[in-house]
């Protein structure tokens, strides 16, 4: 493992959603998030060249994506939606969170069979216990309306000032009781990652 990478804690959240206020649709929506708490090697100073960490994050990104698939039951084909995010502790800057775009996104797309859609993301600087609403879209077509979702995540006690929390989220399907129309997964035709 690179000296830039020090993982202090990993949290995995899984949700099984049977219904909302309406009748149970007869299938269960599963959502999972994997959150890694890392030491921020750039905390407390301005470091112009942060790109080496982006490269170093590839391996932990793949490991987190594997954990996320495992948390949903282990079958990559069951994954239908995804998203990612970062929370930067107060000794860091928002740009450090941006290091997660490439390794987080590509790890999931690779393991999910070259998923087409851009991975939606969000990031913020925050104190211990900060919550993040991670946006979720369909893995192959960003405009699939039934799969627009978000999952609130966080790790109690983190990030400390010198830490980063990187997040991956995956789901097995549409929102429970989805019924606002729009593009459906069966209608994906262009395969440009959007429609």
């Amino acid at each position: 493992m690179s000296s830039l990478i020090e993982i202090r804690r990993i949290a995995t959240i899984t949700e099984e959603i049977m219904r909302e206020t309406g009748p149970a649709p007869g299938h269960v929506l599963r959502r999972a998030a994997v959150l890694a708490v890392l030491t921020n090697p750039f905390a407390g100073r301005y470091e112009p060249n942060i790109l080496p960490m982006m490269e170093a994050l590839k391996a932990p990104g793949l490991e987190m994506a594997k954990r996320c698939i495992a948390a949903l039951g282990g079958d990559p084909k069951a994954v239908a939606g995804y998203g990612k995010g970062a929370i930067v502790g107060e000794g860091g800057e928002l740009e450090h969170g941006a290091l997660w775009h490439v390794p987080g996104g590509y790890a999931m797309r690779e393991l999910l069979g070259d998923a087409k859609a851009i991975v939606p993301s969000t990031k913020k600087v925050g104190g211990p216990g900060t919550r993040l609403d991670v946006p979720i879209t369909h893995i192959n077509a960003s405009y699939v309306r039934s799969h627009f979702d978000a999952m609130e995540v966080g790790v109690p006690g983190h990030p400390r000032a010198d830490e980063l929390v990187f997040v991956l989220v995956m789901t097995t399907g549409a929102r429970i009781h989805e019924r606002v129309g729009g593009l459906q997964p069966a209608d994906i035709k262009v395969w440009d990652g959007q429609r």
């Binding site: 990993i10 949290a11 995995t12 959240i13 899984t14 949700e15 099984e16 049977m18 609130e152 109690p156």
Partner: protein
């Protein structure tokens, strides 16, 4: 099943470094939450036995969800705790009815053994309310290294007429415990205390 479950949320955390010091083996903790309808919401009901039976079901279900998230055998579990958050159309006593009369038996059965009191917490709250589930060693309440707590929350629960029920199980105490007291290898495990 008596419980009408809307969703189940499981959080598992694994700590491998604390204050720069390795935690070896990493500590692992899980908390499983069920969001259920509160069948007693909105009015005063004297007999809360329907909630007590729900506690039996969830004691088994949530303990097994924790073991599964930890990927451990029952005999590898070390500490446990339980909690409930009652939505505003219910009353605190509803949490007590789920947690206290009968829930312990299925929890202990799922873990094979558990002679110590299962520490608990309860509160009323709105959606996204967090609760700190207390943790204690399952066979000896005085094991100091295992006094801990794990924060649980479900962002969209409890609604007014719902209850969030949580059970936490670990395979370890705090990361790098070092304040002395009764150690886990000194446990007799007979009276629930030592």
């Amino acid at each position: 099943m008596n419980a009408s479950i809307r969703k189940i949320v499981v959080l598992m955390d694994e700590t491998s470094i604390e204050m720069g010091e390795a935690v070896s083996p990493p500590t692992r903790r899980a908390v499983a939450c069920a969001v259920i309808d509160n069948p007693c919401a909105g009015r005063f009901i004297k007999d809360l036995s329907v909630l007590t039976e729900i506690g039996v079901e969830l004691g088994d279900l949530l303990t097994k969800r924790c073991l599964s998230a930890l990927n451990i055998r029952p005999e590898e579990a070390e500490s446990y705790g339980k909690a409930a958050i009652v939505g505003e159309a219910g009353e605190l006593e509803h949490a007590a009815a789920i947690l206290h009369p009968k829930m312990g038996t299925p929890v202990r059965a799922a873990l094979i053994k558990g002679v110590a009191l299962i520490p608990s917490a309860k509160k009323m709250g709105g959606m996204g309310t967090a609760i700190d589930v207390p943790l204690g060693h399952k066979d000896a309440a005085f094991v100091r290294s295992h006094f801990d707590a794990m924060e649980a929350r479900v962002s969209d629960a409890p609604r007014r007429n719902e209850i969030v029920v949580a059970i936490a199980v670990t395979n370890s105490g705090r990361p790098n415990p070092r304040i002395g007291g009764l150690q886990k290898h000194e446990i007799k495990g007979e009276d629930g205390l030592r």
